[in-house]
Assembly symmetry: C2
Homo-oligomer: 420 residues x 2
């Protein structure tokens, strides 16, 4: 385990926490945790199920499995009847379990979320990185995927699985239905299993998420959970939807569960049923939270663009992944900054702003990309302000109720007011 680092997102969160406990005013664009409170109905459901101490089946509570499947398939545009659900202690664990269950090389777009690659490393699986471009919204294209598969096979590789994540952490950009259809075609041709991480599906700012499972139901495992759209990261409940025709993978995942984490906390599972019932109050809450994330991250995106850094309109989640390469010469000459890790450290040191360097997402050290998370605001205050000002724009909303985000953008501007 020597080569394995502590997950950088969790590490930076703990580091900022410690600095804050020392009284330092560090602004936190490093850790993406949706800041809204637990919805009242879900709190009540958890409290009402505090007496549930029995082990549930490893695949999860039947009522929860079917509620989650129906709900998620319906909101992601595919036919749930072709799938079976497994409930796990977070979608991260379920992704690890799929990687463990399915041997072979992992096709991984760059940039991609911090834990996919390290999971493959724990399992000794080879990672085949697929570069992406900002013009391509930092997602694979059918062409780049096809080329990566062919090149890997030519080099005696064994590409078997691909992880997609849309809306994406770190880019805040998603995949269109057209591109998903094209990617599905390539995967079908080459027999590639897709692990489709759709944890931000219901944080699509326009609530228009579509899953690749619509186009490739026989080869897609959808993973998601409650962490993002309901701000329930701390509850630890994830869902994997596995095609019925992939029965050996489903069985292997349940066997792995039964030998490791057993089953998810019973009170949490019973409470989670409430999240998948389509209760109008909860549905409205999900929509409001997604809209607020759109406002706040839109504000940060505008601030980045104002610096002269190109970035598309954001589509979901609460991140963006700008490349500050336009400042490369000045950063090197003035401050000796040549890598994204140096840049991230320099931002903490000079302006007290925490971000994550591109290397955490698989990018080359000299690519001056940072992931900016846009969640450092008080969810309760933002909800209250939004209730009174439903027609807010990013420019009116953030200064009014997200002071840390506004200040972070100021500090970012200050830092990059370099003599270019």
């Amino acid at each position: 385990m020597q080569g394995l680092n502590f997950s950088p997102t969790l590490a930076i969160n703990e580091r900022v926490g410690r600095a804050r406990r020392r009284g330092e005013h560090v602004l936190h664009m490093g850790f993406g945790q949706s800041p809204f409170p637990v919805h009242r109905l879900i709190q009540e459901a958890l409290a009402a199920n505090a007496d549930k101490n029995m082990y549930l089946p490893s695949a999860g509570l039947d009522a929860l499995r079917s509620a989650a499947l129906g709900y998620l398939a319906g909101r992601s545009g595919f036919d749930g009847r072709e799938f079976d659900a497994i409930i796990g202690p977070g979608s991260k664990e379920l992704i690890y379990d799929v990687q463990l269950a399915v041997e072979g090389d992992l096709l991984l777009p760059v940039p991609s979320w911090v834990s996919y690659g390290p999971q493959a490393a724990i399992l000794g699986d080879r990672v085949i990185k697929i570069p992406t471009t900002l013009a391509g919204h930092h997602h694979v294209t059918a062409e780049s995927l096809h080329e990566a598969i062919v090149a890997s096979r030519r080099a005696a590789g064994n590409p078997r699985k691909l992880i997609l994540n849309y809306p994406s952490n770190p880019s805040g950009l998603t995949l269109t239905a057209d591109r998903l259809r094209q990617i599905a075609g390539v995967c079908r041709d080459h027999g590639i299993l897709v692990i489709s991480d759709e944890i931000y599906g219901l944080v699509a700012h326009d609530q228009n998420h579509v899953s690749i499972a619509r186009f490739y139901p026989e080869g897609t495992i959808v993973t998601t959970g409650l962490s993002k759209h309901l701000s329930l990261g701390g509850y630890r409940l994830g869902v994997a939807l596995v095609p019925r025709c992939q029965r050996p993978v489903f069985d292997a995942m349940v066997r792995i569960a039964s030998e490791t984490w057993s089953t998810v906390s019973s009170p949490v599972q019973f409470a989670a049923v409430k999240a998948f019932e389509g209760h109008p109050e909860i549905e409205a809450y999900i929509q409001t939270c997604a809209r607020i994330h759109g406002l706040v991250s839109g504000f940060v995106r505008d601030a980045v663009v104002a610096l002269g850094v190109e970035y598309p309109e954001l589509q979901g989640a609460f991140y963006l992944y700008p490349n500050f390469g336009v400042f490369r010469e000045a950063l090197r000459k003035d401050w000796g900054v040549e890598t994204s890790e140096q840049l991230a450290r320099d931002l903490i040191d000079r302006v007290g702003l925490a971000t994550l360097p591109g290397t955490a997402f698989g990018d080359d050290p000299t690519t001056l990309a940072l992931r900016l998370a846009t969640c450092d605001f008080d969810g309760q205050a933002a909800l209250a302000y939004y209730a009174d000002h439903p027609d807010s724009t990013p420019e009116s909303f953030v200064p009014a109720c997200c002071p840390n985000v506004a200040l972070a953008c100021e500090r970012l501007g200050e830092y990059f007011k370099l003599p270019t």
Copy 2:
């Protein structure tokens, strides 16, 4: 993952559950789940923390880690100052994480709990089985351990870790302080890390549990949780106590956590603090539950002995592991039963009694051992009866308030009334 079977304990539980839903009256000696309700104070603590949706550190909530460490070290007779705690989603997952973090061959007593070996198989680690005897209370001796290590090294093996489990599932027997001291000596001499699974420590019927960490603090990782003594299996919270001098193992475990299960459910962690505060009401509850387990399992042990099968007095947990080899000839001649798996199936078919075969615990197929779990009773009813009859004996208690256990013993007697 082809060779990996679904955990047999969970599998039998689900199988019996299905049979019962079909209306069959199967008696369940297959699954060990403590049947008492969640203590009121812990239910209240969970309800009060339903709003906790933030990710906690991967090693766990600080207040919980220190409370758990102090509490467990104090009740297991060792110096907690030499240890650090990690909170995980069940001790099973934490044992898997230790096995993943520490490379090398696993020394495993036979019989031992069903998941240790499969975990090693998932990780591709070699398992070195160490036979035990009923006379040795189904635990390793210093001699058998020493011999196994030497023999393995002679065969170019690399024994690095040993799992002990006391009080033991499946035997219901524990290790004395003297034997622990001797085993510690062998482990120290050979540089073997002990994974000391003490999940039943507070279900020692006389509440006299001592950990090997007293004798081998530098090389013992204690794993435990709330599942057994507080009947909180469904809550999914385990604890690992790692020696401070084993910092690389601690760090590797936290890194593994950060890349897989992240952290344990926040409301559960906050609620669990209550379990480690030494609250007198909870302490009395733990003691009462352990005593009732002693009464019930003592009744089953007496029933087994009455059949002519040797078994020591039980010391903890809620199991026993009798060997029905005395009936070997009759079983073979009359019913064609020659293996423990055939015996377990035959018991379900002929008398509707579910047990687990010795093979699930690593024993040879022809060893006619079964694990009998003694938890198929109504915890609430047992508590009520015990409150009125604190001086109960096994013979008075079980017939009065554990009808399924009494009936299971009758059916066992009926089955083995063979023409020997």
